[in-house]
């Protein structure tokens, strides 16, 4: 996170901060506080993968995700614990994130990968989909590649791309039964989706991770780089849609508003803490006899930028999570948009 330095002066930062803390906030690109950047999405772009997706944001940020699956022997398949049923492990899923101009062992990149991973495995249902029989399981490699330079914090982009790639992921159909060595149908047409499509769909859908910041009292979704640079709090909130089997009587009921499940929350270190502070006009050290260090951390002067200190109140965190989980809110809107993408 520390690598994404913004080259903004204290005066510019203060201008951004003031206009974003107005009610309603005025964003520099004219979006509403809950509006996402427009995006173009495509699935099934890579032939050699089990599932793939490409998402391009309107500002030029572009990411590709490829999902590949391979069969692996489950170690210590003991015959003793038959009662355990499908015992799955989180490490059957591997996520690697590659961001240009960053080392792959950079702490920020690993943080991103772990965040996406824990959202995916959050409810323990996903790993069970990879279970073949007691001796074998699928191992899933999810490779996330950011093509453009990191314009803003790439988390929402990578998360949406991963979501689409997982929806498009297909695994060969199993022909063998029980604990035999697995045998699969050669026909790719008869392969099965990891996340079943409409119809017999029940259970959790793949997660999406939203980046939410607060400036003043305002909750702002999908911040751009400049907005992130003045944010007081940045949270990454992962949610997933839960689909329940509908009984016959409910078919005509208004389907608006999905059931959303909270999977994980992580605080992200806002880059605003690394921004240079402004110096109030009256306290220039040349005109005032006092040493500069006494003036540095006095109470903030209105109109002079100062990097935020301290943490977040619980009520602010609560407000953010409420805004994410709200019915018909941003998460719904984003999922609606992604539902429109044709799965190849």
């Amino acid at each position: 996170m520390a690598t994404t330095h913004t080259l903004l002066s204290p005066a510019e930062l203060n201008y951004l901060h003031t206009s974003l803390s107005l009610r309603p906030p005025i964003r520099s690109d004219g979006r509403l506080p809950t509006q996402f950047r427009p995006l173009t999405a495509e699935t099934g772009i890579l032939q050699g993968t089990n599932g793939s997706a490409c998402v391009t944001f309107s500002d030029g940020a572009e990411a590709i995700v490829g999902v590949k699956a391979e069969i692996e022997k489950t170690p210590d398949a003991q015959s003793g614990d038959e009662d355990k049923g499908k015992k799955a492990r989180g490490d059957w899923v591997e996520i690697s994130v590659e961001i240009p101009s960053q080392r792959d062992d950079d702490a920020g990149t690993i943080f991103l990968g772990e965040m996406l991973r824990e959202a995916l495995l959050g409810d323990g249902e996903f790993a069970k989909k990879l279970w073949i029989n007691r001796r074998f399981h699928w191992r899933l490699h999810i490779d996330i590649l950011l093509l453009s330079p990191a314009l803003s914090y790439p988390l929402p982009l990578l998360s949406l791309t991963t979501h689409l790639a997982l929806l498009a992921t297909r695994l060969p159909k199993l022909k063998s039964e029980g604990d035999e060595d697995p045998m699969f149908d050669d026909d790719w047409e008869s392969s099965v989706f990891v996340y079943p499509r409409e119809g017999a769909s029940e259970g959790t859908r793949p997660p999406i991770t939203l980046l939410v910041v607060t400036v003043g009292d305002n909750v702002i979704f999908d911040p751009s780089k400049e907005e992130l640079a003045v944010a007081e709090t940045a949270l990454a909130v992962s949610v997933a849609e839960v689909r329940r089997e509908k009984s016959r009587g409910e078919m005509e009921v208004d389907t608006k508003g999905r059931e959303l499940k909270l999977l994980s929350i992580r605080t992200i270190d806002p880059p605003s803490r690394l921004t240079p502070p402004g110096v109030p006009n009256g306290t220039a050290t040349a005109t005032d006899g006092k040493p500069a260090s006494n003036l540095a951390s006095e109470t903030p002067v209105a109109g002079v930028w100062k990097a935020p200190l301290g943490g977040t109140k619980f009520s602010v965190v609560d407000g953010i999570v409420q805004a994410v989980l709200e019915k018909g809110g941003v998460a719904d809107e984003v999922l609606d948009g992604l539902d429109g993408v044709e799965l190849a």
Partner: protein, 283 residues
């Protein structure tokens, strides 16, 4: 990330010999649901560092689970190297490293993904606390070494509880780092302390319950857990990490979970205050 420059041996596990005939009983939680394990915290243990602290989370006598032992050293604030770009603030770097012998499976000398992840969390927790603009053009390194991680020794097969243990480790890292930063005399808005709360399923009936300071092996299954870094006197959270199945039937459950984690951190913050008082008065 794997070390690509050297040819390393396979990363195997080292297990103590295990005999079939004497199975140790599975540990059970004997504390109250809102009980926190006692901790031992001492500052100023490393003379060569500008600030240091040592934290031990106690295990009960004869308990098969081990406690945690962590040490933290703070180097700096010191001037940045000439090649570094200008920074109006103190540059904070955090390193979290398991000692190779800290856990059942040996940890290599290179930091792996979970250790890097922990160090990012720790950095977020500390950065909100430091008054960094009092030290322009300087850097400070916070190094946490986990000497003994929390793991049950008697289980031959690991139960996939490491991901939940990480929450406890992070909470301990935050606490020990806060004490070491205070020992180094770096200005902070408050002393930060870590706390963990978890939603566990009860063994008998299918009900779930929120407990403070969970030990993964003492419970059947942990459904969700939350770790916070909390500033008691400002009533603020600098780092929040929540994951797991927070059931959608009770929409306010995550709130309870965060509130309980904050409650747990208040307990550990008393330990920090106590040990800092002790260091000041020289008692």
């Amino acid at each position: 990330m794997a070390d690509r420059r050297r040819i390393n041996g396979p990363g195997g596990t080292t297990l103590p010999p295990l005999y079939d005939d004497d199975p140790l009983p599975r540990p059970t939680r004997s504390r109250e649901p809102n009980g926190v394990r006692p901790v031992y915290l001492k500052t100023g243990v490393t003379p060569s560092a500008s600030g240091s602290a040592y934290l031990e989370v106690e295990s009960r006598n004869g308990a098969p689970t081990t406690g945690m032992k962590l040490s933290c050293t703070v180097h700096g604030p010191r001037s940045l190297p000439r090649s570094a770009p200008f920074s109006p603030h103190m540059v904070l770097t955090t390193h979290v490293k398991y000692a190779p012998f800290a856990t059942k499976s040996r940890r290599g000398y290179l930091r792996d993904a979970s250790e890097r992840d922990l160090s990012t969390h720790l950095e977020t927790a500390l950065r909100g606390v430091l008054i960094a603009d009092r030290w322009p053009k300087s850097g400070v390194d916070v190094v946490v070494t986990i000497i003994e991680g929390e793991e049950a020794r008697q289980f031959a097969v690991d139960q996939g509880s490491e991901e939940w243990d990480m929450m406890n480790v992070l909470s301990a890292c935050i606490t020990v780092a806060a004490a070491a930063v205070a020992d180094a005399g770096i200005d902070c808005v408050d002393t930060v302390s870590g706390g963990v709360a978890a939603l566990v399923s009860m063994s008998g009936d299918g009900k779930s319950e929120i407990v403070l300071d969970p030990v993964a092996t003492e419970h059947d299954e942990i459904l969700a857990a939350c770790c916070v870094a909390y500033l008691p006197s400002r009533d603020e959270i600098t780092n929040l990490w929540l994951k797991g199945e927070v059931s959608s039937s009770d929409p306010s459950l995550y709130r309870t979970l965060i509130a309980r984690a904050v409650h747990a951190s208040k307990g550990t913050s008393q330990a920090i205050v106590g040990s800092l008082n002790e260091a000041v008065t020289g008692a």
